[in-house]
Amino acid sequence: MSKYKVNLKINNIAISVDEGTTILDAARQLNFKIPTLCHHDDLCVAGNCRVCVVEQKGARLLPASCATPVSEGMEIQTNSLKVRQARKHIVELLLSEHNADCTKCFKNGSCELQEMSNDYRIGDHVFLDLVSEKDKVRDISSPSIEKDDSKCIRCQRCVRTCDNLQAVSALAVTHKGNKMRISTFLDKPMNDVVCTNCGQCINRCPTAALTERNYIDEVFDAIYDPNKFVVVQTAPATRVAIGEEFGMEPGSRVTGKMVTALRRLGFDKVLDTDFTADLTIMEEGTELLTRLKEALVDGKDVALPMLTSCSPGWIKFQEHLYPEYLDNLSTCKSPQQMFGPLAKTYYAEKINKSPADMVVVSIMPCTAKKFEAERPEMRGSGYKDVDFVLTTRELGRMIHQAGIDFEKLEDERYDSILGESTGAAVIFGATGGVMEAALRTAYELVTGREVPFTNLNIKPVRGMEGVKEASVKIKDVKPEWSFLEGVELNVAIAHGLSNAKILMDKVKSGEANYHFIEVMACPSGCIGGGGQPIPTNMEIRKKRAAGIYDEDEAMVIRKSHDNPEVAEIYKSFLHEPLGHKSHDLLHTHYTPRKRH
């Protein structure tokens, strides 16, 4: 970026900004908020909704401030009479094609268009009503995502999200003129296309055109059913984000409050996905070492690099777009799906309950987890392993409904068993976390020493860079791992599927030679998940990541293999990683899918 400064005036206040800055960003520097709809900090410029128009002295038309760079001597008014009038008309025009059934809408109270319409006191319809022309049939084919074209204002945030951030482009602009809409390949239902269910589009949709399928009522029904024993598990990333649903700062660590809230909602037991995250490390770490042994000692043709399998959006991405690399995916189920079958076998036995009477609910930062729970393979216990998956947002809604004052809650602890976890598990929530947790355990397993990083913090795998690479030299190994002596373990990490694509294309071309790759489908990892509180942007995700790493440092135990409940489950139930029981309950297989 060039360092030339440009001088201009916004609302008669002089400011000097870097060349290339948009009028919108320059105004923000002066704390003038210009309303936006199609603009999003994570996405490329579109300039199609026009609500951010401003008046430029000497210009005939009102430029869109999000799409216009500043120029020397510019004089801008952000709230002149002309601007106000135009903006009001623009919002009215958008509303003329928006099915504004606000009181019945899932986004009631959190809709950007509604907020804007409220700000500008939009009353009567002054333009021709186009809502009647729109297709009011909602697409509920996907267990994760609901698409309602009658709410769509065609701002294309979703299209840019699916393309810029995820390199999937399941959604595109199709047809033209008044028939223009956001659609899929041949207008197929969402569940029949390449959509990975990551939900990033939902996070950015300003209206309710894209929302998660919500299962709040089903979960309350289960809670109030006296014959059901309802256990809940919470993903790592939820505990640093749920506070935002109650106006708290992004990254606020509210693990204890969340546990209390879940108990007050009436869940019979409050357990932790972090426990199965630790278990994942044991299984996946062993799997990696086994693959390395087969490659280095037995000379077998094993699939390397091994790819992590915790992120269901990433799994579906691979199934559609890189089906030739399905063998490279770890066979480990995600922590959510490891929890389900263990709850309905091991745990059910311990607490003397019939799995048929149990309901397993997950609180996830993720919408793809809803799809994952529906996969036919996910019935290792003989029942549906995870019955309902709720997003962080849905949990926020439940807590609101129950009239619980979240911020004032006391901290409580998870129930035992299946509730104990380590710092290595909580960092699963941030990009690089699975890699760091795996290295903490694998390195120690092989050498008998802790990873050679200060305070166990493996900094090279952390941070928001799209693709991260690191190498760990393994030396002075224990005798049984002698084949790894002197081996340089090459690892890579990607977050956001567009970065995953960059990495996969490197693997495909043979340019890169990695042993182990971590991919999280969502930008910044699960903390930026499609089920997390809205809004999201880099600043918010960085705060959530900081919360995750603070949580890790605050834990007494920081390595998965030191989790006493994990040791116990191997002793009394699973016997060994990759053993027979693990194979039945904790591992899975993948399905090649079509490219569309």
């Binding site: 393309d163 999937v168 482009s169 399941a170 959604l171 595109a172 602009v173 199709t174 047809h175 033209k176 659609s183 899929t184 390949f185 041949l186 296309v193 390449v194 079509k594 490219r595 569309h596």
Partner: protein, 155 residues
Amino acid sequence: MTRIEELVKEQAEKHGRKRTSLMPILQAVVSSEHYLSEEAMLAVAKELDLSTADVYGTASFYTFLDTVPRGKFIIRVCKTITCHMKGKDEVIRTIEDILKIKLGDTTTDGKFSLLQANCLGWCHKGPVMLINDEVYPEVSPEKVSEIINQYLKKG
């Protein structure tokens, strides 16, 4: 490799695999197959490393890039105001009578499709009609029967 995949590959060799190659490739597929099938769009997406929705989005934007099966001869009668005033409705009715199809349909033998088009730029010689790439200006019900009959004989 199917026939369509081969055709797409051949066109990609010719026009390149950049995003800007999309239009000429789609046009080539349409001129050979009369429309873009699901299989064809999948093949193009794969060859150019684009998403299928993206390919469909482009195809659905252009009237001449059909995504539903069309006949060997696609008749397009201009529907805009000048041709309308000069009697395009009678022309359409005549074609419907001869081919026993309605506007928008394709004959069961897959030979003809009857469609309307936006302005073809021949307002001074309306009503105007296109059959594939051939322009027929100043058509009347009589002239149009003659033209269609010639195509019927072509087989």
